[in-house]
Structures are given as C-alpha cells and as structure tokens.
Symmetry: C2
Subunit: 424 residues, 2 copies
Amino acid sequence: MSHPKNVIYAQAGGVTAVINASAAGVIEMTRHHPETFGKTYAAINGIVGVLEERMVDTSELDEAALNRLKTQPGAAFQACRFDLDTIDENPAQYERVLEVFRAYDIGYFFYNGGNGSMLTAQKVADYCSDHGHPVTCIGVAKTIDNDLALSHCSPGFGSAAKYIATSLLEATMDLFSMHNTSTKFFVLEAMGRNTGWLTIAGGLIKTVLPDVPLIVLPAERAFDQKAFLERVETLIETQGYCVCIVSEGLTDADGNYISIENIEHTQHNDYTQLGGVAHSLSGLVANTFNCKTHSAVPDYLQRSASHMVSETDWEMAYRAGKAAVQAALDGHHGVLPTIDVTSHSPLEWRYQNVDLYQVAELEKRVPDAFLTDDGMDITQEAIDYLQPLIKGERPVKFYNGLPDIAPIHFDLVSPMLSAYKAIK
Amino acid sequence: MSHPKNVIYAQAGGVTAVINASAAGVIEMTRHHPETFGKTYAAINGIVGVLEERMVDTSELDEAALNRLKTQPGAAFQACRFDLDTIDENPAQYERVLEVFRAYDIGYFFYNGGNGSMLTAQKVADYCSDHGHPVTCIGVAKTIDNDLALSHCSPGFGSAAKYIATSLLEATMDLFSMHNTSTKFFVLEAMGRNTGWLTIAGGLIKTVLPDVPLIVLPAERAFDQKAFLERVETLIETQGYCVCIVSEGLTDADGNYISIENIEHTQHNDYTQLGGVAHSLSGLVANTFNCKTHSAVPDYLQRSASHMVSETDWEMAYRAGKAAVQAALDGHHGVLPTIDVTSHSPLEWRYQNVDLYQVAELEKRVPDAFLTDDGMDITQEAIDYLQPLIKGERPVKFYNGLPDIAPIHFDLVSPMLSAYKAIK
C-alpha cells in the first residue's frame, strides 16, 4: 500500500452561507483516514493560493476552530473568481501548479466551487496525470444559484432560499399592514443571472399567505411588460397591493437585460454587473399607476446570511465535503459528488459521483412544470421541491448583540518555492 | 369613582419589527385594570380606522393570539400614513372622531407612532376636551429612525440596528473572502431620511472586525465626494477592499439628495421617495477606480425582520405599551412615555412622561460626538450608545422552514354609525 499523500482543499466562485461547512467536512474526513491522507492544506483564494503558495496547514486547527468554521459566512479560506488559462495559452501556469503539488507531495485536490470551478479542477487533474504526478481531483459542490446539473439541488441554495423567502414574507406583512395609505407595490431582487431558482423560492411565502398577491419573475421567462402591468393592476385593484420577486438577470424577449449597470470598462471584462431590475420595475409601476412603490436588493446579504441557514442545506454542504473525501477513498477521480434523492416525502438523499466534465458546462434551469402558464407564479410542484430544502434551523450564537462569527486567524505555511504572481 | 371607559389603540407611521409588542403591552395592561378600562378596541389603519369605524374588539383575542402578536412583523392592526387636517380645513373630520369616541364610550386613546403621529394624537385630545368629551390621549413611542426627541432611543430602532449591523457584518466577511479577485467595494443603504442612526449602527461591525476598512456616511454630514473617494482609494490600497454604509437621505453641501427617485407625480405629493444612493456610490467607485463594486438596499427588510429582534428593543416596545397605560392610570394626559436612562453600563432605563407637543415637532439627530472629525467613521461613544440597544435575542419559532408569523385573523366590530370615507 502506498504511503499517505497530502491534500489541498480550496474554495472558488461566489460564496454561500454554508461553504465552510464543506471545508469542515473535508478536513474532518481526511483526519479520520490518516492511512490515506497526510496533511490537509487549505489554499487561500482557491487555485490562486495554490499558484502563489499561500496555504494553511489545517492540522493546526483545533476542534474549537473547526466548530467556528462550521458557522462562518463567506469563504473562510477566501475564494476566487479566477479560471486557469488553457494549457496552450499559459503552460507556465500548469507547470506551477504541478511544481506546488510536487513540493507539497499532494495526491488529492478537493475544489469547492460551482460549475466553472469544476472545469478548473478537471484541467488540473488532466495536466498532472499527463505529467507523471497523478493527483486525485474531486469537486465539492457549492452555489446559491442552484444551477448545478445532475444534482437534485446545490449546497448553498437552501440557505439562500430560506433567507429570500423569510425576507419576502416579513416584507410582505409590512407591506400588507400599510398598503391602504402607503406603498402599493414592493419588489425584491434575487440573485440569479440565468436562472430563477432564488426567485421562485420567494414563492414559498404562499405556504404562509395562501392568497398573497404575488408576482414571480424568474430569469427563465422573458419579461412581458404588458402582461406584467395587467397583473399588477388586477392585484392592486382586487387586493389593494402587490408584491413581486424578480431575478437580477431578467431579460426581454430579445435577451436584453431589463437593467444593466455597465461596468464593462473594468478589468472584469467577462462579467457584466447586473443590478437594478427591481428599481426599474418599481419605477415602472409607480409611473404607470401613480402609486407609491418600494424595492429591495439584498445582494450579498442573501448569500452570506449565516444567521438564517437551512439545517437541510447545512447538512448537504457538510456532507458534500465528506462525500468528496469518500469518493477519493473509493478510488474515484475526476468526479463531483452530487445529490441523489431516494425519497421525496420526506426528503431522503445521498451523494452519488458524476463525471466532472459532464457537469462542468451544464446549467440547470427552473423547469416549466414549476411555473404557471403565464410564468408569473409557481406551481405546487415547485413548492414540493423547494420546501424541504429550506427546512430546519441551526442555533446561532450571539456575542454583544451580533452573531459570533469573528474570522478565524490562520497562519500561512512558509513558502518553499520561488515567488509566483497569479494575477497580473 | 367613575365607571370604566373604553379604549382605542391604533398604529401609525412606518412599522417596526416590534410594534406589535407595544400593542400586546397596551392590551395586557388594560385587561389588568378592569376598574378603569372597559373594552380595548384596536382601530385598523390608525386614525383612519377610527374615522371609518373599522375596529377590532381585542377582548376576543385569547392568550395564544396575544403571544402570536408579540412576534409578528408589520403592524398587526395595520398602520397608516395619514395625518388629520387642521380643524379649520376639515372640521367634519374632528366631528367624526368625536362621534366615534362617543358611540364607543371611549375614554382613552393610545396612539402608537412616530413624531408626526403624536401631533395627530394631541389634536384629537384637544378637540375632544374642547367639545365636552374628554379623552385621555397617550402616545406609544415607535420608530426605526431613532429620531424621537427627549428619549434615550426609540422602540423599534434597536432591532433595525441589529439587523443592519448583522447584515453588514455578514456581507463584509463575504466581501473580504473574495476581494482579491472580485468585488473591492460594497455599499449598504440604510433607512433614514434626515438622520443617520441606522447608518452609524453599521459601525458596530468594528466591535467584531476592529480593523475593518469601513466608511460611514450618515445623513447628518454633507457628502464630500473628493474626501470620500480619497478614503476609498486609501482603504483599497492598504487593505484591498472597502465597505461602506450610507443613509438613504445623504445630501450634498447644498442639501440636494445624492440620488432621488422622482415620483412626485403620485398622490403622495408631500413625500419624496428616496433610494438609489448606494447604487450611485457603487457606480461612482467602479468608474473612478475601475474595479468591481456591489450595492445592497434592504429597504423594508430592515424594519420587518422579526427574526432578528433585539431583546432589549423588544422589551422597550412591550413596556412602551404598558407605560402608556400606566400614564393613563396615573392621571396623565397628552403625554408620551419616553426612555430615561438611569444607568449606562449596564444599561438601565425606565419610562418617563413628556408632553406630546414638546416631542412632536422635534427630531433627534446623530450628535457630533458620535462621529469622527471627517464624519466618515463612528467614535467609541457611539459604540457605547448603540451596543446595549442591539443586545439580546428572542427565540424565533419556525414552521416548515419559515418563521411562524402567519397573520392573526381579526373580526371587525359591526359598525354602529353611518359610513364615512377618510381617504378621498
């Protein structure tokens, strides 16, 4: 039997409220298998920290630190929005990854990210095995967007969905209580560039307020201004007010965003900054119906709300980390453990391994069956899907009135190699 | 001794997460004194419900309903943004209030609102006593804005402050964890038209993150674009990122709002809808420094977040209701119980009665001593003031993944009088 190899775990892409539970899952699981795994390093800033040799030796984290990790928002080891170039474009980048892997005797690479990050993990895996240093690369699923294919849902989504539905429920009760002499229309903007998963999660308020005058505008359906305004008018006329939830990435029939904050001149050329659709709809309704309107844009609040975590989602994130390590123990390579449902009611699930390449370029969108024919409301099928994912709460520890989530301090390992700058 | 008189309690102005605790306080306290108080009615939509004779007989609420009331966001009896006209303008309005008070044998009127609502309460009191039907009018303090004068703070503020500080803390940890390859500047917009109380509450994140690169822009200080951009630049250069909290009502040195959503054409002519300053600052920083930025506008979420209530604030709201009834029992009239601090550390306080007229037209702004000289950070004095107000948590009951806050159904009393339309 071969001697234990060391491990790198890293976090990539937009964070979730539970991504650090996955980190804890990986770290705990590798510790339990010293026959297979040596040290577990966590790279800072995802693959950037690998390239720049900025890493934490997680064996220095005691149980108290691991427990703090489990409740911390953001990416405790810092995530990155950084994809590797192609091998042809930038062979030096791949050589560097391999150099670091060799220097640290890395045999396992667990990459915690969304679809794009899985491609990075797979590229690294291929390069290493082509160059005589086979590294087991396993993905750890994560995204609030829930657009991960071949998985019942994505760890991170349930908590963001719980936050969105809770916030919309509370705001709706506020709106209801004042609509007679004040605001008639309130719209909440949910994250989701191409998919409306968090938007339809707002529809869960129907489980508490069955007759709520709600309009749901997911990114999957083109915005039909006429139909929208007609529905707003009907709801205000019949119920006195109207509440709306909209995807940040809502487009018109030609695929143009309803609203764009153009910052294309920044270094992030590939990334069009969204935001503003709620504000636009709010103005449209105010102008059309001569009434007071309000809009809310929780933005990062919805993906960092560690005070509003779904226990189900937390468990999925924690077990995503463990499942990735288990996949490595089982001899898998180049896979992503995804959630396979074995019973819908009550929800029972397990992790199954799918090919990284298979999942990397796919995007799961809200199915037609989850939306009513006019696309402005969700169906019972959607509620049946969403509700189990937001269920359960975790205790939140407070200190002096605020959640006790002060960051854990990590010491970086002393570099062994020459300096390397990943970001120009 | 005179026979018991009936009571009307009503809610007015922008709601808070704890306004219904005040309602419960009033109802419980009047129940305990049947020798003085007969039935306690709750008017729907504040003074509008009085005028239109839409009222609930709260003696029909059992203990379970009262307990639900204590945790419900929004105004359970619906609030109003509606001020009485002057007596000269609209004597019929005052005659109607008196007619209703006479028909229902009302001897006590408890009005739960902000500064403006106190004026309404006082006008009603004066008219009734001038017309031979003396009614004891007592205010019940409430506003998330914390701009109530002659009071240490306002019930409703502590919970909104806790929500804002928690949200900014979580979002800052998100931002920190990704700033190396993503967003460098994040700004949160807090409510506050003329006062920056909720904005400075964001400064409480310094108690968890002492070195956080934070800029605080309260409404009390004119926006100095040059100084702001210089500070952003310094913070991004030295710490890699910058987080900002700004009052919706921020103005430039000439008193012009940095951003205005002009809906002056609506029926709410006296009310300029704010919103958009965070979006504007986000764009300004992105354009100036060629970096990725984000903004969040929690809007109603910050005043309806019953899942994030400060125990201290809840207690203040609950006791505001009781103190109002106690003031009536003590023979006071035309007063508002306000919070008098008897010890600062630990915070000890009691209600004291101040004259309604005295408080109605005043506005408490953030004092200079709470802000650093450049006006872009808060002082230890501000932290010492704010921290006790957000302390303590209340248990939140969930059902199927969402807060168990379904509205209580109320039956309205059958009208005794001719119909009256308060809103044209």
